[in-house]
Amino acid sequence: MTRGVAAYTFRLLLRSPGRSLALIGGLSLGVALVVSILFFVESSSKQLTQTAIAPVPIDMVGHATVPTISQRQVVGAFRRQPGIQAVEVMDAVDFTTAARPGGAQKTPAGKLVAVDPSFFQSFDVLKVSSGAFDPNGALVTEATATRLGVKPGDTIAVSIPALAAPYQVKVTGIVDASRAQMLFLSTDPSKQGEYQVVTDMVVMDRSLFNRALRTALLGAASAQPAPNATGGAPVVDQQQLIRIDRTALPGSPAAAQTRVKTLARSLERQFTGQIKITNNLGDALGSAKGDALTAKILFIFLGLPGVALAVFLARYAGELYGEAQRREIGLLRARGASSRQVLGIAGLAAGVLGVAGAAVGLGAGTLVTVLARGNNALASASAGTFIGMVPWALAAGLLMAVASSFMPAWNAARQNVIDERRRIKRVERAPFWKRAWLDVGALLAAGVVLFLLNLSGGFKPAGGEGQTLSFSFYLFLAPLLLWIGLTLLLQRLLVKVIPLFARSAAGASSGFGQVAARSMGWRANRLTSAISVVALTLSFGVSLALFTSTYNAQKRMDAHYAVGSDVRVTPALGLAQPAGLRQRLLVPGATGVTAVMRDGSAVVGSERHVVYGINAAKFGSISYLPDSFLVGESATTMLSNLRATPNGVLISRDLANTFSILVGDPVLVRLSTGGGAYKDVRLKAVGIFKQFPTSSQDSDLVMNRAFMAQARGTTAADFYLVRADGTQAGATRVANEIKPLFGSTAPAQVQDLTATLATDQSTLTSLNLSGLGSTERIFTLVIAFAGFGIFLLSAIAERAKEFSTMRAIGAAPSQLRRLLAIEGGSIMVFGLLLSVPVGFIIARVLVTLLTSIFSLPVSGVSVSLSPLLILFAVSAGGLLVALVLTAQALPRLSLGTTLREE
């Protein structure tokens, strides 16, 4: 019995090769899209992993919790652990101050660290900028050298609380420790994840440390035990700095995190209670894990309409042979097959088609990925990647086969019975969605979801730097419902509009134009399907193009907002700035420089707030201050008001709301003047802002720099904003020109757009969506091309008799081609025209998702014309090719056979 069904099914599939191939083609298109998106998700996951771990200089740090532990034993055990690439030992001791013997200058508290010479090869966190690392001396950081005015060969005295007298050591070199913050990650549970910023460091060889200090320090430690048995830090912080083999990490952040966590646990287990591992890499991957999940859902969601269109296309293609299928089912029933057997055959056929579609789609998806993103797209894909795709491709193929092949057969089988029952009276009913007004319902539901999400703050960014974004999955409901609603509404409206249009066109034309117009009005239903496929496919491309361009624009805007301009230069804290620094920053490529003061300890009311001092005359031309950042005034007016009012101040909206401050109100601010002293100033509110460039978090008040400098008694700027040409490349060029200006004498942080895009924001914003864009552009073209071609072929097949009659009564083949061209051209034009508003509406809702990702609210869709024009040009070209190819079928019509079929 089962064998009979199977044999019949295979014969059925082979007997109608056109139908089988059409269905496999449609299914493979959908599977290929799924596979391409999965490849993109896979590479994005890898990119997220790399972005997350790139800034981590030290993967793991082992902290000895007991002073007597054998570092040699620990290092030996750790180095033998598979997956570990390097282990270095570091001993760190807090010092209260360092000074030149007999000198007046002293450093603030700092760290004395002892490492082996191999440390410098294993880790890139300390760089000897002058002199050398000598076993008989010590390196000092650039900040310490500048503060104390020491150079290699000088001697310094380091005061360590546990020692009776300052320890004197010869300076053998200067070390750049700007990347060394992670050496001193806080071990305090309440400050987990925070760095301990240390600018003054003395770095010495461990052999010297062991000889000169270890015994004395450990002796002091045993004399003064830690405050509690487990949590207190020993006097000598004995660390093992661990570098793992990052190349062996899985691409997915979640899997990579699991791997490094397991590794950290296995390291700790070897010295239970003696070593505590700080897993820097695990923490970084933890933040990327959530982003990767969000990215996965986002990308799959972005591709869903394409998959739905492919399913529709497969079904549409299958329907070309629908009559044959219905006849087949009728014959089966007439021969006594039960419904169950008929459905068994249909189910098995769908299964075979689904598997075949999955196999072809897997290959096609791989091919499209290579075509869209180049050979490198698969460079990192392993055999496991491909094997991992198989279940997804199979699931997609089978699901789509059920929708496109099994369901119509099921309907046909059911219809067969219903037809028998209603032989006398056939009832033509509108489809369920039309009767139930599902289109309007879906659109209303989308609106409600958007409204509720706005009310509940679903669009507000919940994550900060290095944190996982809290992303409401309800966000995806709105665009999904919108897409469904628009698709159905389009069908409802087109069916009404096409006959009206056709009537007007027929009235305004004559000859074949009129014939074509009448035909279009007559076939409004079919035309609606074709126009919908073309319009929705192109709108899918349009919405993705707009989404990508908005994402890129938002990414740049966010970076500009965080940096303040194209480049920000922050001189090291507490160091005297070189004279004429502002002028020197005007390197080639820089178009303007402005200095900014910052007081992070100012007090308004009883709360601490951040006050910025800017040069209002220049700030507007150097920084990026769009009018949308400000409340009620343009940027030009607000900055002009500030300039005209020496004690004027711009206030953040939050602060203005908190203290009920209106423009014109006086504002009393206590500015810090250093050493815990404050100076009271009476300012006047001249404007309110929502955001202010230079900081994504803490701009509370912005005042005139000159007034601020006078009040605080210092003219030293906290940072400088440098304007280049606004592009990422321009900013990098200018930053690269600036960096050498400082050398090792006056360290500064030079932050440009590229660096900010890579580090300062959520890893989600670091993704390159162009790969997704080009992949889905190919699918847009293929689906539109196939959909259009299938419509035209079906139009020819359905109207074979009509076309044959036309030929018989005098129409030449070229005239029939013209007729087809007019109808096809109308579909193209309608499709292209409709795709713009539909794509724009979908893109508008899609970009609300971006609000959760970026610091700045997304003000609207950013239209980049060139990708849209390329999309339209390529699609129009593809549609024309489809038209020309299908028109070739017209002369091949067998007039005699067709006209006999009365």
Binding site: Q514, W522, E802, A808, I809, G810, A812
Partner: protein
């Protein structure tokens, strides 16, 4: 082997007219190998101007094939067709061009274009021939008037009865002023009374316009109204009957 019977005395118009269409040695085969069917096996015939000819024979004898081959719908595998003395069967373009001006069709299933109104259906051959709009309009209305359907000119085929549809098809066949109308079972889809009306209309219109008419029919009464009957058996013309009018 085809036989060519002696021609009967044609009606005055036909006697006066030259041969509109002449065919010699027409052969047509469908399929290949063992399953191949010879639909026409060397048919010779001549249709004169204004002549009404009925083609009769059992089902599957090749009547429709003959009509299709004569009308240029299907090419003959062998043989020659001339229209007004010009051999056209070897040149498809020429055949199409001449047919468009000379030969029109009436089908059993009417062959109306469902999206076009009655008048637009009638106009279609003129549209294809590039006739200016004004002239098309006048001619189509005149043709519709001939078949008594002017008031139905704006109706779609689906809004009309079978008889009305066939009358529209007749008007469409008449509108280019053809020399020959080929009608394939013109009353096959109609009831007896309507069929007679339509046949009357077709024959009367053809005679009035001095246009030859070749109609395939199973109906002996219809055949009885023709000037000549061509009997076809297994792709061969077996007998030319006398003028029955």
């Amino acid at each position: 082997m085809a036989t060519r019977a002696d021609e009967m005395t044609p009606p005055p118009d036909a006697q006066a007219g030259r041969a509109v269409l002449a065919a010699t040695g027409l052969r047509k085969r469908y399929g290949r190998g063992d399953g191949a069917v010879d639909a026409l096996r060397g048919v010779d015939l001549e249709i004169r101007g204004g002549e009404i000819v009925a083609v009769m024979g059992p089902s599957g004898c090749g009547k429709t094939t003959l009509l299709h081959v004569l009308g240029g719908i299907e090419p003959a595998d062998a043989g020659e067709i001339s229209i007004d003395g010009t051999v056209v069967s070897r040149d498809e373009r020429r055949l199409a061009g001449l047919h468009r001006r000379t030969v029109t069709f009436v089908f059993q299933g009417f062959g109306l274009i469902p999206s076009l109104s009655a008048r637009e259906n009638v106009e279609f051959p003129l549209v294809a021939a590039g006739v200016p709009a004004g002239e098309r309009h006048r001619s189509s209305l005149a043709a519709l008037a001939d078949v008594g359907l002017v008031e139905w000119q704006h109706h779609l085929p689906e809004e009309m009865s079978g008889g009305q549809r066939q009358r529209v098809a007749i008007a469409r066949a008449l509108v280019p002023n053809p020399r020959l109308i080929l009608a394939d079972e013109p009353t096959g889809n109609l009831d007896v009374a309507t069929g007679e009306e339509v046949l009357d209309l077709l024959i009367t219109s053809a005679r009035r316009r001095r246009c030859a008419l070749v109609m395939v029919t199973h109906d002996p009464d219809a055949g009885a109204r023709a000037d000549r009957i061509l009997s076809l058996r297994d792709g061969v013309l077996v007998n030319h009957t006398e003028d029955l009018t």
